[in-house]
Amino acid sequence: MTEISVRDLTKRFGAARGVEELTFDVPSGQVTGFLGPNGAGKTTTLRVLLGLVRPTSGEALIGGRRYADLERPRRVVGALLEATGFHPGRRARDHLRILAATTGVPVSRVDEVLELVELAGHAERRVGGYSLGMRQRLGLASALLGDPQVLVLDEPANGLDPAGMAWLRGMLRRLAAEGRTVLVSSHVLSEVAQTVDHVVIVHEGRLRYAGPLDGLGDDSLEDAFLRLTGPVPDPAGGAPQRPGGTAPAAAR
């Protein structure tokens, strides 16, 4: 049981909108794209899921449990968030050694993940000298350190060159094929369309669609995305779209 389930999740930051009554599931064994324009509430949702932000109401569960209640959370869930950072003066291997101790894996695992993200040759360098793409790989290495069944990645393609993108795509597909739950937020739709099986689309804090990619109909992902995240037809408060599985959301 490693599915992610979000139920009636609401988070308000003072008067600012966070997310409103969000409900969706993320199945295991597939790559799920978490899409929405900037400010749609993607990052807020992921942060609640990871126990970094307290929801106003509702819940986000991993295998039926809250993140904070997991015994060794990093063994279950690997996360890469935009706000994840590195001390510029610290060497990459040291960064991972620190995480290995609290993740609960032997130090030998550090070299394995460095190999996996193709950073083994740069492990002794200080992270301050890393390119954006290398930092992103190091972030992925951190997420993979605990060999987790669930991966939560916020914009993992940021800073990757085309070869890196292709590499990431292969990695995500492979991880999902192993039965893991992979949730990837992104705004690069063309990239997502080639990678994901399942999509969750949010807009202005509300769910617009949750279901298989091919449930979006015949138009391209980009067309569907623009349709679902365009101006809301009934701003006076029409009911938010429910996760309809295969049902396309807005009027066509």
Binding site: G51, R74, F86, A101
Partner: protein, 244 residues
């Protein structure tokens, strides 16, 4: 908890700032003691040795900055996200940092004492006098310096956890010591001796002639109280706060 403590030590060892601060402390102590004798300290006066070794306590300003780095430094570099992802019980992270940095502050105090004492002996010898090694005032001053360093490191952890912005936390702490406490002290009169920097100076026997300081033991208790209060405030806000 042992894992978290070992982890904090590993974090410290793998960056350069703690090493620089640790090296700076004894160096500043040496400078201070040497300067006192170079500017013509009178070895005939009873309190000269105490004044010389009291420089070990002044290094507590570095201990304070070191403590601030513990939490605010993690916010600065956004490593706090990974830290709390690995240990969602954030209170335990803050507790581990308090243990490690208090110990480190004490260690810094010991290192500076180990420099201050021989430097003072050399200062006396250079003036043809000899340091009285049985002077209890000297030993109490050195012990007080260790306590001052440990307490200020712990207070720094609390300040960093409360303010989180590294530059802000360091500015607030140093401004308090250099400026604000003096201004507040004028307003509150006799209560001024209970303020943190006055407490530190009393513990470290800095300016022992000043009659308006607390006795050393009382001041040590006050510092421990401040450290505990900051720790409690740090833990309670850290547990509830959203990490964005």
């Amino acid at each position: 908890m042992p894992t978290l403590i070992a982890n904090e030590l590993l974090k410290l060892r793998t960056t350069r700032a703690p090493w620089l601060l640790a090296a700076g402390g004894p160096l500043l102590t040496l400078l201070g003691v040497t300067g006192l004798f170079a500017s013509g300290a009178d070895t005939g006066k009873a309190d000269t040795a105490t004044r010389a070794v009291a420089h070990a306590g002044m290094v507590s300003l570095l201990a304070l900055v070191l403590g601030i780095l513990a939490v605010a430094g993690e916010y600065r570099h956004k490593t706090i996200t990974d830290t709390y992802l690995a240990t969602p019980r954030r209170a335990r992270v803050v507790a581990a940092k308090l243990v490690v940095y208090t110990g480190l502050g004490a260690l810094l105090g010991v290192a500076c004492a180990a420099v201050a004492l021989p430097a003072t002996a050399v200062g006396y010898a250079a003036k043809g006098a000899s340091l009285d090694w049985g002077d209890t005032g000297v030993w109490r001053t050195l012990a007080g310096g260790v306590v001052w360093n440990a307490a200020f490191a712990a207070i720094g952890v609390g300040v960093g956890a409360l303010v989180r912005n590294l530059a802000g936390a360091v500015s607030v702490a140093l401004a308090w010591i250099a400026l604000v406490e003096g201004l507040v002290g004028q307003l509150v009169g006799g209560f001024a001796r209970w303020l943190p920097f006055a407490g530190g100076r009393a513990v470290g026997n800095l300016a022992p002639d000043a009659g308006d300081l607390l006795p050393q033991w009382g001041a040590a208790a006050v510092l421990v109280g401040y450290a505990a209060a900051f720790a409690a405030a740090a833990v309670s806000t850290t547990v509830r706060r959203d990490i964005t």
